[in-house]
C-alpha cells in the first residue's frame, strides 16, 4: 500500500460521516427547519449501530439500527418543534445533550468491546487495480451511499416537484400554506430525512471508521456538518466539496504531525476548520446564490390559521 493510497483512503473515511450528516441537515434546513441536534442524532446512531452489530454479529443490522435511532431522535425533535411548536434552537441543543447522555448510558456495557466492521465491497478485477482499485472500488457501501445521497438530494431539490415543494416551504411557509401545501407534513419528512442521514453518519463511525464504541465518539462532527451546510450556501455539491476539503486538511495535519515538522499540533488541528471556513466563505461570496438558496423561513415556527 503506497503512502498516497493510504492518505486517500483515510481522507475518504474522514469525510464520509461529515458528508452524510451535512446532506441530511441541508434537506432539513431547506424546508425551513434548523435542527441543532445533529450531534445528538449522530452519536445515538453510533451507539445503536454498534450495539446491534455486536449483539447480532451483523454489520448490516447495525446500519439498520443506526438509521432507526437517527430517525427516532429526529421525530422527537419534529414532534416538539412542529406539533408542540417549541423553539427550534433550544430544542435542537437539548436534543444534542440528550443524545450524548443517553448514548453514554446505552453504551456503558459496550465500551472496549471489539466491534463488527462493515466489509468493503470487492469488484473482481477493478478492486485489484493499483491505487485506483482500493480507492474507487474498494470502499464500504456507506461511502458510495453518501455520494449517491448527495447526487440524489441535488437532483431532487433542483429538478423535481418534491424538491420545489421543499424549497417553497422553506422560502415562505405562508405562501406554501395558501397554495394548499401541508407545511408541517413536509417539514416532518425533511426532519426525518435529516435524522436518517445523521444516524447513518453515526453508524459509519462505529461500524467502519473505528469499529468500536467510545463515549462521545461523534467528537463534534455534528457541529462541523452544521457549519458546512451554512457555508456551502445550502448547495449539495458544495457540501460535498466542503466535507472532502475538511477531511483532506484534517488527514494532512495528522500526517504532518507524524512526520514531525515543527508546527504546534494545536495549530495543525485547527487548520481544517480555518481552511474550510476560508474556502467556503470565498465560495459563498456570490451574493446571488446565497440569496437564492438561503431558506428565508429557517428557524421560524409555523402555525397554520384555520
Amino acid at each position: 500500500m503506497s503512502a498516497l493510497e493510504a492518505v486517500l483512503l483515510t481522507v475518504i473515511t474522514a469525510s464520509t460521516p461529515l458528508l452524510l450528516a451535512a446532506i441530511g441537515e441541508l434537506v432539513t434546513e431547506r424546508s425551513g427547519v434548523l435542527n441543532l441536534g445533529v450531534e445528538g442524532m449522530m452519536v445515538m446512531g453510533a451507539v445503536a449501530g454498534f450495539a446491534a452489530a455486536y449483539t447480532t454479529g451483523s454489520a448490516a443490522l447495525g446500519v439498520v439500527a443506526a438509521v432507526g435511532a437517527g430517525i427516532a431522535m429526529s421525530l422527537l425533535f419534529a414532534f416538539l418543534t412542529q406539533t408542540l411548536v417549541t423553539n427550534q434552537v433550544a430544542t435542537g441543543l437539548a436534543l444534542t445533550l440528550f443524545g450524548l447522555g443517553l448514548s453514554g448510558l446505552i453504551g456503558e456495557g459496550f465500551t472496549g468491546l471489539p466491534g463488527v466492521k462493515l466489509t468493503p465491497i470487492h469488484v473482481p478485477g477493478l478492486s485489484d487495480l493499483p491505487l485506483l482499485g482500493p480507492v474507487l472500488f474498494g470502499q464500504d457501501l456507506l461511502v458510495y451511499a453518501s455520494l449517491a445521497l448527495t447526487a440524489l438530494v441535488a437532483w431532487v431539490l433542483s429538478r423535481t416537484r418534491l424538491g420545489l415543494v421543499i424549497r417553497a416551504t422553506g422560502g415562505n411557509h405562508h405562501s406554501a400554506h395558501a397554495l394548499g401545501y401541508r407545511v408541517i407534513a413536509v417539514r416532518y419528512g425533511c426532519i426525518a430525512f435529516g435524522g436518517l442521514c445523521s444516524g447513518l453518519a453515526g453508524g459509519y463511525l462505529s461500524l467502519a471508521y473505528t469499529p468500536l464504541w467510545i463515549e462521545n465518539m461523534s467528537a463534534g462532527r455534528g457541529w462541523i456538518a452544521l457549519a458546512l451546510v451554512v457555508f456551502s450556501t445550502w448547495a449539495p455539491r458544495r457540501v460535498a466539496v466542503g466535507a472532502y476539503l475538511f477531511g483532506t486538511v484534517w488527514i494532512m495535519g495528522l500526517y504532518v504531525q507524524g512526520i514531525g515538522i515543527g508546527i504546534p499540533s494545536q495549530l495543525l488541528s485547527s487548520l481544517p476548520y480555518l481552511v474550510t471556513i476560508a474556502a467556503l466563505v470565498v465560495i459563498s461570496g456570490n451574493r446571488l446564490l446565497t440569496k437564492v438558496n438561503t431558506p428565508a423561513c429557517i428557524g421560524q415556527t409555523f402555525v397554520p390559521d384555520r
Binding site: R159, L164, R167, G171, H177, A178, L179
Partner: protein
C-alpha cells in the same frame, strides 16, 4: 340574506357564511351567488370581510358556519388544492409568491402534474403574450417589482383554466392599457362560461366591467346591486356608509425655488434583474406635486433609492436637495436637509413589523428630531407623544394605544408612515406608491395630505402606478420607462392615452407630443 334556493343555474352559492376569529366576526351571515359567465364584484372597505370571504371560498380558511354549494351541491372545500380541483382559481393580494424561486417555479407550485421546466416555460411565455402580461420564466421573484409579481399571479391562475376566477385587486398595478387588456381577457373568459369574482376599490372599473356587485360593510352584506345602474358615488356611499371625501386641489402660483433637483443621474443595474437608470433629470419646486407614472419594474424602486440615499450617486451634483448637492450622502444626511422619504413596502421597509409604533417613529426621526434622543438614550415619552399625535392627526385606527406595526391594516399603516414623515413638516417629500392596496377612504386622506403639504410650501414627488391618483393630485407629470424619465408635462396638457404611450416607451422614438420640462 337567507336565500336558500338550490337553483342549478348557479355555479357557486355561499349561504349564510359566518367566520369568527376569537370574539371578532369577520363574516356575519354572508350570502353570495354566482352564475357561470358573469363577472361579479365584491366591494367594501379594507376590513369589511372581503378577503375572509374569498379565503373561505378558496379553502384557505374554514367557515365557522354556513354552507358552500358548487353547482347546486353542498361541498366542503378543505384546502386550496381542493378548491383548485373544483376549478376555482385565485389571484392573491398577499402571501402566495416565493421570493427565492423563479417565475416558472412559482407557477409550477400551483399546477398539478409533473414539473417539466422547459414545457412550462414555453406555456408561460405563450399565455403571458396572449393576455399581454409579459413575464420572463427564469427571472427570480425577489428581483421583480410588485406589479410584475401581480402578473405572475394572474398568469398562474390563467394556466389553471379555472371555472371560477377570484381576483383580489388585479388592476392596482397595471397601466390603463394593460388594465383594458385584462378586461378583454376577463370578458373573454366570462364569454367562455367562466365566472369571475372581482374585488376592487376602483368603482369606475367595477361599473365598466361587472354585471353584479355585492357590497360588504363590517362583515355583513349591505346591498346587492347592478353596478351599471349605480354611480361611483352611490357605490362608495354603500361601501363606506357615508359620503367619501373628495380630494380638492387649488390652482397654485409658479416661480418657486427648486427643492429637489436630479441632473444626468445614471446608475448601473443592481443584480441581474435590476433596472439601469439612464440620464435622469428632474426638478421639483416648492408648492408643487410632481408625479412619476410608469408600469412597475421600470426603475421606480431604483430611482426612489437614489433619491433617498439608500443608493449613492457617483457624482455629488447628480442629486441636490434644497439647493445642496448630496449625491454621495446617505439617508440621514438627506433627512437633515429637510427631506422625508416613504418607500413602497410598508412592512419591512417603511416600518419594522415587530416594533411598536412609537419605536417606528424613532427609526426615521432619530437624527432629524434632536429631542427624541438624549445622549444616546431614547426619550420614550417623547416618541409615544409623537406617535399618538400622528395616530390622531391621520386617523390611524388602532385597537391599542401603541400597537406593533404588523397589527395595523395596510391602509392604516400607510397613513401612519406618511403621517410620521409629514408630522415633522419636511420641505421635500418623496413617496413611492402612496396608496397601493389602500382602501378608498384612506387613499383620499393620504392624497389630500400630500396636496396640503405641497400647498403649505413643500416640494412633493410622488411615484405611482395609479393614473387616477396621479391626475387627482399632480401639477406636473413625468413617465419612467426602462430606466429613462420623460420630460414633465403639465397635468392639464396630457391625457391618459398620452401617458400610456410614454409608459410603453414612446418617448424614445419621439412619438409622444408635449413640451419638454422647464
Amino acid at each position: 340574506m337567507s336565500e336558500t334556493s338550490t337553483d342549478p343555474g348557479y355555479l357557486l352559492e355561499a349561504i349564510g357564511i359566518v367566520k369568527r376569529f376569537g370574539d371578532f366576526t369577520a363574516n356575519d351571515e354572508v350570502s353570495l351567488s354566482l352564475r357561470p359567465g358573469t363577472i361579479h364584484a365584491l366591494l367594501g372597505e379594507n376590513g369589511a370581510g372581503k378577503s375572509t370571504l374569498v379565503k373561505v371560498i378558496y379553502g384557505a380558511l374554514q367557515p365557522s358556519g354556513g354552507e358552500l354549494r358548487w353547482r347546486g351541491r353542498p361541498v366542503s372545500v378543505a384546502n386550496p388544492a381542493a378548491a383548485r380541483r373544483l376549478g376555482i382559481g385565485m389571484v392573491f393580494q398577499h402571501f402566495s409568491l416565493f421570493d427565492a424561486l423563479t417565475v416558472a417555479e412559482n407557477i409550477a407550485l400551483a399546477l398539478p402534474g409533473a414539473f417539466d421546466r422547459e414545457a412550462l416555460a414555453a406555456r408561460i411565455v405563450e399565455v403571458s403574450q396572449e393576455y399581454g402580461l409579459p413575464l420572463a420564466p427564469d427571472a427570480l421573484v425577489a428581483d421583480l417589482s410588485v406589479g410584475e409579481r401581480q402578473r405572475i399571479e394572474i398568469v398562474r391562475c390563467l394556466l389553471q383554466e379555472p371555472r371560477l376566477l377570484i381576483m383580489d385587486e388585479p388592476t392596482a398595478v397595471l397601466t390603463p392599457q394593460e388594465a383594458d387588456q385584462l378586461f378583454v381577457t376577463l370578458r373573454r373568459l366570462a364569454g367562455e362560461g367562466c365566472a369571475v369574482l372581482y374585488i376592487s376599490h376602483r368603482l369606475e372599473e367595477v361599473k365598466r366591467l361587472c354585471h353584479h356587485a355585492t357590497i360588504l360593510r363590517h362583515g355583513r352584506v349591505t346591498a346587492n346591486v347592478d353596478p351599471t345602474q349605480e354611480t361611483a358615488a352611490s357605490l362608495a356611499r354603500l361601501m363606506v356608509g357615508a359620503d367619501v371625501h373628495e380630494v380638492r386641489t387649488e390652482a397654485r402660483e409658479s416661480e418657486d425655488a427648486v427643492m429637489l433637483a436630479v441632473s444626468d443621474l445614471t446608475l448601473p443595474a443592481e443584480g441581474p434583474f435590476g433596472v439601469r437608470l439612464h440620464d435622469i433629470s428632474l426638478e421639483v419646486r416648492t408648492g408643487e406635486v410632481v408625479a412619476i407614472a410608469g408600469v412597475a419594474g421600470n426603475g421606480q424602486t431604483e430611482l426612489f433609492d437614489a433619491l433617498s440615499g439608500e443608493r449613492l450617486a457617483p457624482a455629488e451634483a447628480s442629486v441636490a436637495l434644497a439647493g445642496m448637492p448630496c449625491g454621495g450622502q446617505g439617508i440621514t444626511a438627506r433627512r437633515r436637509l429637510g427631506a422625508a422619504f416613504v418607500p413602497e413596502e410598508r412592512l419591512g421597509h417603511s416600518a419594522l413589523p415587530s416594533l411598536e409604533l412609537s419605536d417606528n417613529v424613532l427609526l426615521t426621526r432619530h437624527a432629524s428630531d434632536a429631542e427624541m434622543v438624549h445622549a444616546g438614550f431614547v426619550d420614550r415619552p417623547r416618541t409615544r407623544e409623537v406617535s399618538e399625535r400622528v395616530v390622531r392627526a391621520f386617523d390611524v385606527r388602532t385597537s391599542h394605544p401603541n400597537p406593533q406595526a404588523s397589527a395595523l391594516s395596510g391602509g392604516n399603516l400607510q397613513k401612519f408612515v406618511l403621517g410620521r414623515e409629514l408630522d415633522r413638516s419636511p420641505r421635500i417629500v418623496v413617496i413611492n406608491q402612496p396608496t397601493w392596496g389602500v382602501d378608498a377612504g384612506a387613499a383620499a386622506l393620504i392624497r389630500q395630505a400630500l396636496i396640503d403639504m405641497a400647498r403649505a410650501g413643500a416640494a412633493v414627488l410622488v411615484i405611482s402606478q395609479d393614473l387616477d391618483e396621479i391626475f387627482e393630485i399632480a401639477d406636473r407629470i413625468a413617465v419612467i420607462s426602462r430606466g429613462e424619465l420623460s420630460g414633465t408635462h403639465a397635468a392639464n396638457s396630457i391625457d391618459r392615452e398620452g401617458i400610456g404611450l410614454l409608459m410603453a416607451g414612446a418617448h424614445e422614438t419621439g412619438a409622444a407630443s408635449g413640451e419638454r420640462a422647464p
